[in-house]
């Protein structure tokens, strides 16, 4: 069973200060750390689990700059057999639709029974590249998968709906699945595996080597801005003792306990 996993390297912004850069269309990246997109780590683990069960090869693919190779190497250390980087530096700004088309132009010539993507990228937050890719490849899909099993030609899939409800499905392979966090317990790469992965070759594909040269864009990001505050919070300042005392006072006065 051959599996492809789409992996994106993303800036870690949850705890960092996020500043808009001078173009107004992107963020300042020099002081941010980057890592594999959260749901992609679960997608990769799911691929590794399927490989343990059925054998076959895992190919990880990322459209990104040179640094993305570092993320691909982590994937190689965690069980991927082959890694492909499509050179993002060969393109101007790309929207999600173009990214999907570029990924498709490479994946269409690869061998696969299953494609896994993450269910959302934490930077762009589109939740669309997986399904767009499935449609371009003309294969079935299921989004937000939280339980997965397969035999040679069908997948047994649970999708997460709202409020804890789950949808149980039967999907024909080859198909694409977008993986939700929590589906498994992503492994850590061992030191030996990391060392071994450092020596593996990553296939790098430039724009010239793609079968297609034009990729239609669906959207243009015109500007980024800090969202206006919808509700005015009262910040309780001071030392931890002071802020806590203020909060305790408010809780008491409002009779909240």
């Amino acid at each position: 069973m051959d599996i492809i996993v789409c992996i994106k390297r993303v800036p870690q912004t949850a705890e960092a200060e996020v500043k808009i850069d001078s173009t107004g269309k992107d963020i300042e990246k020099d002081r941010l750390t980057f890592d594999m997109n959260e749901s992609d780590t679960y997608a990769l683990e799911e691929a590794a689990l399927m490989k343990e069960k059925f054998g076959g090869e895992i190919t990880v693919i990322s459209l990104g700059d040179e640094d993305a190779e570092e993320t691909l190497r982590i994937a190689l250390a965690k069980g991927a057999d082959n890694a492909i980087r499509i050179k993002a530096e060969d393109f101007d700004e790309l929207d999600a639709f173009q990214t999907s088309q570029i990924l498709k132009s490479v994946i269409k010539d690869l061998s696969y029974d299953i494609i896994f993507t993450g269910c959302i990228s934490t930077d762009d937050a589109y939740s669309q590249i997986g399904l767009t890719l499935a449609e371009l490849l003309e294969i079935p899909h299921a989004a937000l998968v939280i339980d997965f099993d397969a035999n040679e030609d069908r997948a047994d899939v649970q999708r997460e709906l709202e409020g804890g409800l789950i949808e149980h499905l039967d999907v024909a392979l080859p198909a694409l699945f977008t993986i939700q966090t929590g589906i498994n317990e992503p492994r850590y790469a061992s030191l030996i595996a990391i060392r071994r992965a450092a020596k593996k070759e990553i296939q790098v594909i430039g724009k010239d080597e793609l079968a297609q040269s034009e990729f239609i864009s669906n959207s243009t990001l015109e500007k980024l801005y800090v969202p206006p505050i919808s509700k005015q919070v009262e910040i309780l300042d001071g030392t931890a003792a002071e802020s806590s005392a203020k909060l305790a006072g408010i809780i008491k006065d409002k009779g909240l306990l």
Partner: protein, 322 residues
């Protein structure tokens, strides 16, 4: 303009709130742009659903067939592609829900429509369509211009628009389903309901929510103690459940539980919209987070910008002293 179409989301015989939100926002957009709202319903035995939204749209298109009994992205896609090709609506709106996320990108791609996801606002100027959406963990907003076209598709975030009363009387059009059988390549099997645990976080007046800021499982004991000391229960954000540190029934948010306690204290939680969807109905919201720019401070009534490991032990003492 050839109209605004809204896909009605329903499950287990209930119309989902997002549908009413989209209908209300759709009517506003339609009014501003001198056009009409059409609701699209796919389902089986849809009379009650049609009845409930009759006053909410100018027109309702119904595909009533057993193949649409349960939502199935692939079956829905065949029928909707057929309808959109024929009617060519200016705007087709879908909720950015588990339903919309499983449908829109594939459907729009098949139809070659410009589309984007998780929109919070739509601006229509001449034939240009711009949307507002959030990026980078909700810390920034982006204004996005879509490729110019006669027809667009968008998914919209739940909770961004208010549902509203309306007194329209929709013209109802029943269409034959272009699909007669659920395709073999994707079959719905069943719904699996969430299992109830020992604590029901929806029943407590005081809820202490803990997020990834807690760093390690062992640190949870401190939060348990704090919650117990104020008579509250411990709930959490998704990563805590993903890591198996707390059971799924403690998760607050769109894919967890919706709670409306008197007091919600969010500790080390950034305030992703999926989390906020589950707690914004709390009467008083307190956020404790070391990042002053965390989106949770857009939701909170009171905030402490500090290290939770410093604040919680002291706060516990200060409250005990009262």
């Amino acid at each position: 303009m050839s109209g605004i179409y809204i896909l009605i989301e329903h499950r287990q015989d209930e119309i989902r709130d997002i549908s009413y939100e989209l209908l209300a926002y759709g009517r506003k957009l339609a009014e501003d742009n001198n056009t009409k709202v059409t609701a699209v319903i796919l389902g089986f035995n849809t009379e009650k659903i049609v009845e409930k939204i009759e006053s909410q749209a100018h027109k309702i298109i119904v595909f009533d067939n057993e193949v649409f009994k349960e939502f199935n992205a692939e079956t829905y896609q065949i029928a909707l592609a057929d309808l959109i090709r024929k009617d060519n609506p200016f705007l087709f709106l879908i909720g950015h829900s588990a339903f919309g996320m499983d449908l829109c990108p594939a459907l729009a791609t098949q139809l070659n429509l410009p589309f984007t996801t998780d929109c919070l606002a739509i601006e229509i100027a001449d034939s240009n369509l711009r949307v507002v959406r959030h990026m980078f963990d909700g810390k920034l907003a982006a204004k996005v211009l879509l490729r110019e076209n006669s027809s667009y598709m968008l998914t919209l975030r739940a909770g961004s628009f208010s549902a509203a009363e309306s007194s329209l009387k929709a013209e109802i059009i029943k269409l034959d389903s272009p699909v007669s059988e659920v395709p073999d390549y994707r079959k719905f099997l069943e719904y699996i309901e969430a299992v109830a645990g020992d604590v029901d976080i929806t029943k407590s007046d005081i809820v202490v929510g803990i997020g990834r800021g807690i760093k390690e499982q062992d640190n949870l004991a401190m939060i348990e103690e704090f919650a117990a000391s104020i008579g509250g229960v411990v709930a959490c954000s998704r990563p805590i459940v993903d890591a198996d540190w707390l059971p799924k029934d403690r998760q607050v948010g769109s894919s967890g539980k919706v709670i409306k306690p008197k007091l919600y204290i969010a500790i080390g939680i950034s305030g992703a919209f999926q989390h906020v969807a589950g707690m914004k109905g709390a009467e008083t919201i307190v956020a404790i987070n070391k990042d002053a720019n965390a989106p949770i401070f857009h939701e909170a009534d009171y905030g402490i910008v500090d290290d939770l490991f410093k604040v919680i032990p002291v706060l516990k003492e200060k409250i005990a002293e009262l």
